[in-house]
Amino acid sequence: MSGPPPGEGTLVRVFLVDDHGLFRAGVKAELGDAVEVVGEADDVEPAIELISEREPDVVLLDVHLPGGGGQLVIEPVKARHPEVKFLALSVSDAPEDVIAVIRAGARGYVTKTISGPELVDAVQRVAAGDAVFSPRLAGFVLDAFAALPAEQVPVTFDPELDQLSAREREVLRLIARGYTYKELARELSISVKTVESHVSAVLRKLQLSSRHQLTRWATERRLV
């Protein structure tokens, strides 16, 4: 979040990590001139190396790579270059994989069916330090933070981290219903900035919460 927002005239520098060349080409075409694509990689090892070398603003990261999950790229890069931001981009529907990448430090998750302009918008938002939630990710998070029956609340329960506020819940619901941040702000009569801060707060909870529910939920879902 500390990275300098891209000033006027400077393009966001984007790096692509996806094992499908065809898909990388497609994303590049969709991003067009709106951003500067500074490199691409097709697996964990080359990705870590090239990202460290080129220091892009935003890495578009596939959740599934041949060498493992996207989190394997995030962790080593974050350690050396905390200013590099990650946006997960995937067709994966498996909630635990998506949550794993987010918890490793990705600033958001969008599905590969996203349109070009929306993707550009998401990249710029992430570059500016905001979080980007697709309807699907909002659904996953609502699911993961579902209200616990009283008898299941663990002793380590930290309301600051382990539970969403009513407002955050509301914001997530609207995202899941397909609202853009702008529509959402109008709906709730708040500013887009406030929406962004709510979403960032949710992201922080998602990354920091050691909530028992998150892991239980992940293992329950592990069907493959």
Binding site: P135, G139, A147, R173, L223
Partner: protein, 453 residues
């Protein structure tokens, strides 16, 4: 049918020597074999545990090799499962093989002539079994199946290698043979000439012979058993891979072919791709085998996926569905799904939006559903008075089951249909849920008015 089953169960209980019985003629087993698959075949035919059958063969072999002969006979005469002819069948018809086998007769005659003329009777005694064996082997080799040929090769290779192994292992081998032979000789001596202790003598002898055989042949047997195990695992893996390949072929590749053929019809391509994506997902992440319908509408989640699938298929508009939580369907929720389906169909049919968003959340006391599109919206004046279908199918349906519905639309910006249904047992609390602020905020909504159909 069930009575018979019960009766059988009562009668059969569980006996250690019983095994699953398979109908049909006696066939040598393909998968669970140690040698030729005879024992497993017998076990399947008669419902006896294969280990018991094998033990029977081994014990009867002690009676001057009866078991061995029986086994070889069965191996020759019983076809492998999935094949119609046995090795013997094929050998009888293999004229070239028979001719090759008969070509050993002149060799034998020559050997006999030489042995009689030289007065060396042992040459003839040795040559007869070798020639007959070699002829038989040629005939066998030509007529066993390719897999069994590989098996034979594996069994024979260590024998053929006796002379070619490395120095260290050869020394070990020689040592093994010497020790084994000594033990066998000891056993034979014990049986024939040993100290006269009536009971101990034959028993000890037999034990020694067996021990000797184990020392000499044990490692070889182990090798074969290990190879067989490896082979079986490899086969299981290959089968699994073939299974996946079939599935991928049946669904993914077929769809890709269709997409290529309809490349000029973007709507069709999108529809096909979406349908394939859903199917693949439900296979990979939910264990749903492609091609088998899921247990329709057992839960809310499956019902929502069904709406998504059907609307996408019928109207060629992508439906983004997000479901939070899940629960069993009851009559109320089923009606809600019907209403939601109607709303989704409307959005797909009339809104001209690129996609429809569907969000369903299950909470402890209620279920809410939102159907939203960013399409053209509509204004009330344009809705013909006779289009009362939606009023009935959405509002009416929800009201009858204690739920509520609301439609918000703005011309040019889109439409959202909101449905809420209390869950059974908590109906009273539903009207004042935490969603209240959505339904009360209606700056651009037209509550309670009929929507388009």
């Amino acid at each position: 049918m069930s009575e018979r089953w019960v009766g059988h169960r009562h009668y059969g209980r569980h006996r250690w020597w019983r095994a699953a019985r398979q109908p049909g003629p006696l066939r040598r087993s393909h998968d669970d074999r140690l040698l030729g698959g005879v024992a497993t075949g017998v076990s399947r035919k008669f419902g006896i545990d294969p280990t018991v059958v094998r033990l029977g063969f081994v014990l009867s072999s002690l009676m001057s090799g009866f078991g061995v002969a029986l086994y070889i006979g069965a191996w020759l005469l019983v076809p492998v499962e999935g094949e119609s002819s046995s090795i013997a069948n094929r050998a009888v018809g293999d004229w070239r093989g028979i001719a090759l086998a008969l070509s050993f007769i002149p060799v034998l005659v020559l050997a006999l002539v030489i042995s009689s003329s030289l007065g060396a009777g042992w040459v003839g005694t040795l040559a007869t079994p070798i020639c007959i064996g070699a002829g038989g082997f040629v005939l066998l080799w030509r007529n066993v199946g390719s897999e069994e040929r590989a098996l034979m090769e594996r069994v024979l290779r260590p024998l053929a290698r006796l002379g070619f192994t490395g120095r260290g292992s050869r020394r070990l081998l020689v040592l093994r043979i010497v020790v084994g032979a000594a033990i066998v000789a000891g056993g034979v001596w014990a049986i024939t000439d040993g100290p006269h202790r009536a009971l101990l003598r034959p028993l000890g002898g037999v034990l020694l012979v067996v021990a000797g055989a184990v020392v000499v042949f044990g490692p070889w047997w182990l090798n074969i058993a290990r190879d067989l195990l490896d082979e079986r695992q490899a086969r299981a893996l290959a089968e699994e891979r073939a299974d996946i390949a079939t599935r991928v072929h049946d669904s993914v590749l077929q769809t890709l072919a269709l997409i290529q053929r309809r490349a000029d019809q973007p709507h069709q391509v999108v529809r096909l791709a979406r349908a394939q994506e859903r199917e693949l997902r439900s296979w990979l992440f939910e264990g749903q085998v492609p091609g088998t319908g899921e247990d329709e509408d057992a839960t809310l989640g499956t019902a929502v996926r069904r709406i998504q699938r059907e609307v996408e298929a019928l109207h060629e508009v992508p439906v983004e569905a997000v479901v939070v939580g899940d629960c069993e369907l009851n009559d109320d929720l089923r009606s809600m799904m019907e209403a939601g389906r109607e709303a989704t169909v409307n959005a797909a049919k009339w809104s001209q939006a690129d996609f429809v968003s569907l969000f369903v959340e299950v909470e402890p006391d209620e279920v809410s559903m939102f159907v939203r599109d960013r399409g053209v919206g509509f204004s009330e004046e344009k809705i013909a008075a006779d289009r009362r279908g939606v009023k009935e199918s959405i509002y009416g349906r929800m009201a009858r089951h204690g739920g509520q519905a609301e439609v918000r639309t703005t011309p040019g910006l889109g439409t959202e249909v909101m449905l809420k249904m209390p869950r059974s047992g908590s109906r009273s609390s539903a009207d004042h849920s935490n969603h209240g602020n959505h339904s009360s905020r209606s700056d651009h909504s037209q509550n309670g008015k009929p929507a388009r159909t």
